[in-house]
Assembly symmetry: C2
């Protein structure tokens, strides 16, 4: 199987990439997109992850998309990143409009050009309630569009869709994901802030998996 | 109704824009994308068209997408533009992989950000056989994904889907489209080449509509 794997540089997509290549017999190419996100430093981690693994990686600069967006804390420096655990109301602010469809459409272009079988991304069981475009119905409809978009048919796969984040950490530790080369914090500072939604989720996942998170956090030695 | 109208700078999308604003009571914003196409000069025409009409217009530079594509004459200078009328085999070469899904996804992002009702584009009855992603089933599936992509629901509309290109010219002449400000030729030279698929179609459409095409062609005074 030949996959285009969407790689943010965070822990979920890093795990999917390593798992696919090391244990699932997948020929993987990794795609990262700069869409003007505040935590653009995650892309540096994406590069390190693919270098370590030795897979082809493209970082596509779509930061011009920022000119179309407003009101999302991920792309608009005037909006504060909400702190605390993910909760629908405050986390709506972290959503870049239509981000998943854009990422998938671009990955689909590369999949068609390389005659790959599928686009894979690391959506998991904890995603669906927060982001509309993580819901099953959305992906089903988009998968159908994918199958019709070209003479060469590409599918969308989400191998972790029934897993919780802690399960992903357990899987990643089994396949040797270098989690010190992943970045999660939405604030994109020198260290993980430990307080934004994705930091809180990350710490919780490692704790539930009974593992030590190698990421540096603010206020820790 | 508030629409994001995808504007290439060609005659079909120009007609849709002018028709929507002048006769259909639409509040329109126009979106053009530089995806690294060979005929990037069409974007200069898109700017002129929107200035003349006085509508908000954004040109988004996604030319970094070119790095993901290969084998299409629209983005790869090593591939020759096929000449002659559109015919499935030779025209496959003019297709940028997944272009329509990418354009629609990006327009959808702006539609969500501006709380618009729909994304509109000028697909017409002559398109479907050539490009897989112009087919009805593709658009139905993608429309469904659109409706599910965000809390704010956006639809996809194709007002010209039952019209032939000559019908579009007739409509455009009624609403006063300045066709001298449109560009169709895939080769992107100083004048329209008159021989590539889109030039042949354009000339045929004006001829069938019994109208004079104001575009300059090679070899004409």
């Amino acid at each position: 199987m030949r996959y285009i794997i969407i790689l943010s540089g965070g822990m979920d997509s890093a795990t999917l990439l390593y798992d696919s290549v090391r244990c699932r017999g997948v020929h993987a190419r990794a795609l990262s997109v700069n869409y003007g996100q505040r935590h653009v430093k995650e892309l540096v981690y994406a590069v390190a992850l693919t270098k370590r693994l030795g897979v082809e990686h493209r970082v596509v600069d779509l930061s011009a998309l920022r000119s179309l967006m407003g009101g999302s804390s991920q792309t608009d420096a005037a909006v504060e990143v909400p702190e605390g655990h993910y909760a629908e109301e405050s986390m709506k602010l972290t959503v870049v409009p239509n981000r998943n469809m854009i990422l998938l459409a671009v990955a689909g272009a590369w999949a068609i050009a390389t005659r790959s079988d599928a686009v894979a991304y690391a959506a998991h069981a904890g995603d669906h309630a927060i982001y509309p475009d993580c819901r099953e119905e959305f992906v089903e409809a988009l998968s159908r569009a994918f199958g019709l978009a070209d003479w060469h048919r590409v599918t969308i796969v989400r191998p972790y869709i029934t897993m919780m984040k802690a399960d992903i950490v357990r899987r990643g530790l089994e396949v040797g994901v270098p989690y010190e080369l992943t970045w999660s914090c939405y604030k994109g500072g020198a260290r993980h802030c430990g307080r934004c939604g994705t930091c809180v989720e990350r710490r919780e996942a490692f704790a539930l998996a009974g593992a030590v998170d190698p990421a540096p956090y603010e206020g820790e030695a």
